[in-house]
């Protein structure tokens, strides 16, 4: 009798051991990380595939490891206004309307997001009616309500978001922007039917585009009206941010309610391939490249550093590296409200003195020189060359202006080669007779600092602008003086020409057609004749991924750049 239990014990131990060994071995098998079993449990895949075979040779599941050079301005859909932030939050927060996950023209197509269908526009273009899909949930299980959209619009104003000027045409929005009280009467919702009616003061030709921006992505109404970068807001998209440490990084996991509820209705929005995404802030771009080469990282947001760009391009183009054009403008803003840049002659002189060819070299060929506000590829673009490089002419203009040895501060950020561009620009200003001092700010908060009009010595500096949507108003509104804000200001030059403001406003009311494109082109010229900015180029960006990432299938959206949901890991 005694031997039997002993034998049984040994047999049981042997069985447990066998199961344990089998489990260890199975960790790398292809069946361990299907999306449905991913919740909290697939991190052992660590940057490798190992899930279900997907179309195109990729596989489902695994953990994608990525890096940014700096933390986004905000990790908050209502406030973030940078490519970094939008790329990061694209798979997390879905607006009522959204852009198709596609490249080039396909990526500019507006499709319904949380709304059932595209809006019905009535009342001469002043009323937009949409219906929220039913049964949608946030990642915390809370139901998504029509009122969440209304709150999102109000929250954009409450947080003084840089994107709030897009929505000032909503009835009562302008008053709300001032008082921050009483809500916005122009947005009416019916929680039972999910109906959302938006009334505008005047028609707005870009409003559909603007409804597809992250600024008005619905969020729970209990979300505080302050920056939530460190406390991620519940997600409505395929991924949720589970941890966010400003300055260090953040992590995504699959939104458990996407597969069950939201994703079933929003079939045009991809669910993503990996189960988990870990993004770290790695300030050293050369280390990022090394980590991609060694497979420690799978994807990097920023292109390889200029120091290694050519080497990476030559070695990996086609297999792990590809260049992507962007619709963007790099420029030096000049504060039109302060001396000496309130003098048009000085602004013209700067435009003559800045040499796009030199800046092309500083950016190691990653920008193509331009001297206008609208970039190539944008409707309404017509090539302008009002200020061919001429330092002598620039000096003459400075002499004519009567300005001499005026002290100015040049602002730029720490990211290479923007810092070198700032240094170059400072040299140019000194050469034409100003006394320029350089201030280089950390890229994490550069735009926040220069977007605060109370920051002292906001004279001139570097800035760039990537399209929010394929409409020329998206660039020209930056120069509309009516949009100058005390914080999160995007009109860094504080340009305010009432006549041109009116033209922008008028054109914004109309649907974009050939005539409007022509007029936008004329507006571009009018602003450049005033030398409101000193634009110097349009950017080409690059995508560099590890060997085990399917480069071919990655979607580069003109607005959101890399679609994180399109990255899949190969086995």
């Amino acid at each position: 009798m005694k031997k039997l239990p002993y034998f049984l014990l040994v047999a049981a131990l042997a069985a447990v051991l066998a199961v344990g060994l089998a489990a260890c071995g199975g960790g790398s098998s292809s069946s361990s990380s299907s999306p449905s079993t991913s919740e909290g449990g697939s991190s052992e895949n660590e940057g490798s595939g190992g899930g279900e075979e997907a179309e195109g040779g990729g596989s489902e599941g695994g953990t994608l490891k990525g890096a940014y050079t700096s933390f986004p301005d905000y990790m908050d859909p209502q406030i973030s206004y940078t490519a970094e932030g939008w790329t990061a939050m694209r798979p997390v927060y879905i607006p009522l309307l959204t852009y198709k996950a596609g490249s080039e023209e396909e990526g500019a197509e507006i499709i319904p997001g949380l709304a059932k269908e595209l809006p019905k526009v009535t009342n001469g273009g002043k009323t937009y009616t949409l219906f929220l899909r039913k049964g949608l949930k946030y990642s915390n299980g809370e139901e998504i309500k029509a009122g969440d959209f209304k709150y999102a619009v109000e929250r954009a104003f409450l947080t003084n978001s840089g994107g709030s000027p897009f929505y000032t045409d909503i009835v009562g929005a302008e008053k709300f922007a001032e008082t921050k009280k009483g809500g916005i009467p122009g947005v009416k919702v019916n929680e039972k039917t999910g109906e959302i009616v938006i009334n505008l003061v005047s028609p707005r030709g870009t409003f559909e585009n603007e409804l597809a921006l992250m600024f008005v992505a619905p969020v729970p109404q209990k979300t505080p009206d302050e920056d939530q970068s460190a406390s991620p807001i519940p997600a409505s998209g395929p991924y949720m941010i589970t941890k966010s440490e400003p300055g260090r990084g953040w992590t995504y996991e699959r939104n458990p309610y996407w597969a069950k509820d939201n994703g079933k209705q929003m079939t045009e929005i991809p669910s993503g391939h990996v189960d988990k995404i870990e993004i770290e802030v790695q300030r050293n771009q050369s280390t990022q490249v090394n980590d991609i080469e060694s497979g420690k990282l799978n994807w990097i947001f920023d292109p390889p550093p200029t120091d290694r760009y050519q080497e990476v391009k030559e070695k990996f183009e086609g297999s792990q590296f590809k260049e992507e054009p962007t619709i963007s403008t790099y420029y030096f803003w000049m504060n039109n409200t302060v001396e000496p840049f309130n003098n048009q002659k000085i602004r013209e002189a700067v435009n003559y003195a800045v040499d796009p060819a030199a800046l092309e070299r500083i950016y190691t060929g990653q920008i193509k020189g331009t001297q206008q506000i609208l970039p190539p590829g944008m409707p309404g673009y017509e090539k302008l060359e009002l200020f061919p490089h001429d330092v002598k002419k620039a000096k003459e203009l400075v002499a004519e202006s009567g300005v001499k040895d005026k002290e100015v501060t040049v602002w730029t950020d720490t990211e290479s080669p923007n810092n070198d561009a700032g240094t170059y620009y400072q040299g140019v200003l000194n050469e034409i007779g100003l006394k320029a001092e350089l201030k280089i700010l950390n890229a994490d908060n550069y735009f926040t600092v220069i977007g605060n009009t109370s920051t002292p010595n906001l004279d001139t500096g570097f800035a760039d602008w990537f399209e929010d949507y394929p409409h020329p108003n998206d660039f020209l509104f930056l120069l509309n003086g009516e949009n100058i804000q005390s914080t999160n200001n995007q009109n860094f030059s504080q340009t305010n020409n009432p006549e041109l403001n009116k033209k922008i406003d008028k054109l914004a009311e109309e649907q974009l057609g050939p005539q409007q494109e022509k007029e936008y082109g004329a507006l571009d010229k009018a602003f450049m004749e005033e030398a409101a900015w000193a634009p110097y180029g349009t950017r080409t960006l690059a995508l560099f991924v590890s060997e085990n990432v399917n480069l071919e299938n990655i979607i580069w959206n003109p607005t959101f750049e890399t679609e994180l949901t399109s990255i899949e890991l190969t086995e």
Binding site: D307, R361, P417, Y424, L438
Partner: protein
Amino acid sequence: MSPESEKQGTEAPVPNGTGASGAGSGIESDGARVVDADAGDGRQTGGPWAIAWRRLRRNKFALFALGVFLLIVICCLLAPVWANNVADTGPNTTHTLEKLHEGDEVKEVVEPSGKSIGPQWFAAGGKFFLGADGHLGRDEMVRLLYGGRSSLFIGIVAAVITTILAIVFALLSGFYGGWTDTVISRFMDVIWAFPVVLLSLALGIVLAVGGLQIGPLHLKGSSLWIPTLIIGFVYTPYMARPLRGEILALREKEFIEAAVAQGAGPARIMFLEILPNLMSTIIVFFTLNIANNMLLEAVLSYLGAGVQPPSSSWGTMISEGFTALYSQPLLTIIPGTAILLTVLSVNVFGDGLRDALDPKSKVRFEARSGTADTEAIGPV
């Protein structure tokens, strides 16, 4: 102050080395006067400075280090001469699109790929002697020389500031004791409690953005004085505390009592009795401080809280070169070597100076050299 009390006053720090003869050991009375008399037993006598100088002269390694340091200083002082007459460019002048003609060969200062020209030595008449820096195509040699001026300025001036502050605080604290000592010592403790780099980094970042306003005096964020003042300030406790300790010991000596008995006031006792006895310690601290300051300046500038671009310092040059470390390591190695040589030479010289000034160092000196220090006076 009577000569006797002055002599007495100097016995405290140097007595062990000069104990055979109280006479002639007064630093302030004999100063640099070399008393080269024979004591009659084969040993040479002289004032402590003379003895220190003789010891230092025998330390060839320290003298070589001094030579290297002076050479670096002279080269940096001649930066404008090189810039105007040889390189024909300024430290911040960009040459992004320029071409260099070397005989029939035409070279681009910055290639379209962004890579800048390497060292040309004298092939282009001294232009781009060490090549160009990164995408902006600035002359690396000119920036190195000007950068050295900044780094040396900060190193030396900050050491002066530290020394002055440390002497004042240590004298007040050590001499008066009581509440004065408590307040000053706790203040020093507060500064000491912060890691030097973190404290200076925090101050550097804040002041680099907003500048410094002290009454009517305004320093711009880009001013070299900002990192200089910060470095001078943060190192003060590291010098003040040991000095205070020495002062506490000196305060109890007979020559101080004698001075008090003679009616000397506190200022006179502090500055004419105590301070001269601290000179050897101060000189050694000062020298070593220069090296530490230069290293801290490099760290701060590297992190963006020291010398502000486009002004160059060896720290900013390392920082700028670091972005091209992969393709052009020389841009980092060159300023790094300059820092290494300067700091090493200052440290080696400072070490030699300490050996020369510290009477207790005889044992170490003998042990190292393997010979008896025949010029040393008196037993150790």
